[in-house]
């Protein structure tokens, strides 16, 4: 089961003087979802293009399903299903015709291609629009059809480049469901995303990519732990009570920060009890006291941004609009 279906070793690719991918290594096993997470221009798509034979790497090796992407391109293409960043569909044809077209290009006969198209239309909830020309589709519909088109035949490796960009929450969840099913069926899935929630939800392992390099790697939980463990948050709406509480807590803990009506500090074992005890003795009634793990957003910012790890929590709260 632990067959490595994607093996990337020290992959490099430059465009002129810019090193888009600058020594990336990772593996994806059968039945595993690996997420490449990073901001725009981090090198995610270039990595994907090398793996899908659209680009030739400058150096390093990449093997997909055991085949070298440079010398065995044809075999690689027979092993992958790809959804690119832009919905690659025939505008002129209807949704169903697109699916049949790709099925037939992939070797299905007319009948099986049509049957498969209908199956995918059901699965991706495209029944209402399947008979309409794709040029009339919304962005979300296109993405769904695009993903369906890449799943016309079963492949051991599925590669998704920002599959849910521009999707509404419902479609996003439906897509996640499909990816999980495929993973459970043994498909190796590599996906890039800018959405931390997506990596958290789907990926067994996440690689943070920044300026062409892997800046951190691990399960979402491991990455969160790297940030320094849990965070304790005390919410007090009354500003006077909050000031009192802040004084009390500062006496006992380092690194207390304030963010609107929330006091935040790093939580270790016994932190929660100590916080509650101090609040009680100060006679302050908190509206809410919680201990939580950092979000992947916080990890992301601390590892890829200019923000250092200690301040990541603040930075994230300040930039909560993202």
């Amino acid at each position: 089961m632990s067959q490595q279906l994607i093996q990337v070793s020290d992959l490099r690719r430059s465009f002129g003087a810019t090193a888009a991918v600058d020594g990336v290594s990772f593996e994806v096993a059968a039945g595993e979802v690996v997420g490449l997470l990073g901001p725009n221009g981090a090198g995610k798509t270039t990595t994907i293009h090398c793996l899908t034979t659209l680009l030739k790497p400058d150096s390093g090796t990449a093997r997909v399903a055991g085949f070298d992407v440079v010398t065995q391109g044809a075999e690689v293409r027979r092993s992958i299903a790809v959804t690119g960043q832009f919905a690659a569909l025939d505008e002129l044809l209807t949704g169903r015709e697109n699916l049949v077209l790709f099925g037939r290009l992939l070797g299905l006969g007319r009948q099986p291609a049509t049957a498969r198209a209908d199956e995918l239309i059901d699965r991706f909830d495209l029944g209402e629009v399947a008979g309409k020309a794709v040029r009339t589709y919304s962005g979300g519909l296109r993405r769904r059809l695009d993903l369906a088109a890449s799943l016309v035949v079963d492949r051991p490796v599925l590669i998704l480049d920002e599959p849910t960009t521009g999707l509404d929450p419902r479609s996003r969840r439906a897509l996640w469901e499909v990816v999980r099913e495929l993973r459970d069926g043994g498909t190796a899935v590599l996906l890039t995303t800018q959405y931390l929630e997506e990596a958290d939800q789907l990926a067994g392992r996440v690689l943070l990519i920044d300026r062409g390099r892997v800046s951190a790697e691990g399960t979402p939980d491991e990455l969160k732990r790297q940030l320094g463990g849990a965070v304790c948050e005390v919410r007090i709406e009354d500003p006077r009570a909050r000031t009192v509480a802040a004084e009390q807590l500062r006496a006992a803990f380092d690194g207390l920060t304030e963010d609107e009506d929330v006091l935040r500090l790093a939580a270790g074992s016994g932190t929660l009890t100590e916080v509650v005890r101090r609040l009680e003795s100060a006679g302050v009634e908190a509206d809410d006291v919680t201990v939580r793990r950092p979000t992947l957003d916080e990890v992301f910012l601390s590892l890829t941004g200019s923000v250092d790890a200690e301040k990541a929590v603040d930075a994230d709260a300040a930039g909560a609009g993202r």
């Binding site: 659209l54 027979r78 690119g84 505008e91 002129l92 290009l105 492949r155 069926g185």
Partner: protein, 257 residues
């Protein structure tokens, strides 16, 4: 274990499927209409303006001009092929084809077979108009068939070159308008509309080596009892450009940027 269904698609089927799709694209774009309207207008205009003048010089313009209009049409068919394939490149469709197990020649070939059909229809329309104003095939059916075959072949070869350009382009409008200038220069600096001795002396060698001159001269020779030496240069050009552009188109599809 993965549940791979190993499907080996035959290149022939992929070709047929894509050709059918391209034919549909061509019909939806009314591309044949657009590629004959301009040459027909040109034809009518030139006939009205120059026919009497040319007959003073002993040239039967109704016989002289139609091969030129045919060449004009085939060039426009090729240019619109570039436009269509660049559109597919822009929409990402070509990139998807690139990630599919397809031979590098399937996409360009499926493009060219439809271009051949479009060229055949366009040439037929021009010839009907030409016959209406007095153009005749005076050398029998075999040479007439040769005329049509050569014209379509030229369209296909040019379309291969245009497809190579279009595959690398991102903007259909831009690449189409970039082709307009060479099109105008190549058609006018040739024997298409006037004989070679009508050009200034310094320009005559250029006119004589032009593949467009070779093509027009060969078509004229085939429509009448012209000398076979007039046909050979066109065939050589066709072969050379066909190889060059064919390789360029396949490479352009499977190009690793």
């Amino acid at each position: 274990m993965s549940t791979t269904t190993a499907v080996a698609a035959s290149g022939l089927r992929q070709f047929a499927v894509l050709a059918a799709r391209n034919l549909r694209q061509a019909r939806a774009g009314r591309s044949v209409g657009l590629t004959v309207v301009f040459p027909l207008t040109f034809f009518a205009g030139f006939m009205v303006v120059f026919q009497r003048l040319m007959s003073d010089y002993g040239i039967a313009y109704e016989q002289f001009l139609p091969p030129a209009i045919v060449v004009q049409t085939t060039a426009l068919v090729a240019m619109s092929a570039c436009y269509m394939i660049a559109g597919d490149a822009r929409s990402g469709l070509i990139s998807r084809y690139r990630t599919l197990p397809m031979s590098a020649v399937v996409v360009p070939l499926a493009r060219l077979v439809v271009d051949a059909a479009r060229a055949a229809v366009a040439v037929a329309v021009i010839l009907v108009a030409a016959v209406l104003v007095g153009f005749r095939f005076t050398a029998g059916a075999a040479r007439a068939a040769g005329f049509v075959t050569l014209a379509v072949g030229f369209a296909v070869v040019l379309a291969a070159g245009c497809a190579a350009l279009g595959l690398g382009a991102r903007d259909p409008e831009q690449v189409y308008s970039a082709l307009t200038l060479p099109y105008l220069v190549l058609t006018t600096v040739s024997t298409a509309f006037v004989p070679v001795d009508a050009f200034p002396g310094w320009l005559q060698p250029v006119v004589e080596v032009s593949p467009f001159s070779a093509q027009v001269d060969a078509l004229r020779a085939l429509s009448t009892e012209g000398a076979d030496e007039r046909v050979w240069p066109a065939l050589v050009w066709l072969l050379v450009l066909g190889l060059l552009f064919g390789v360029a188109a396949a490479r352009s599809f499977r190009r690793s940027r």
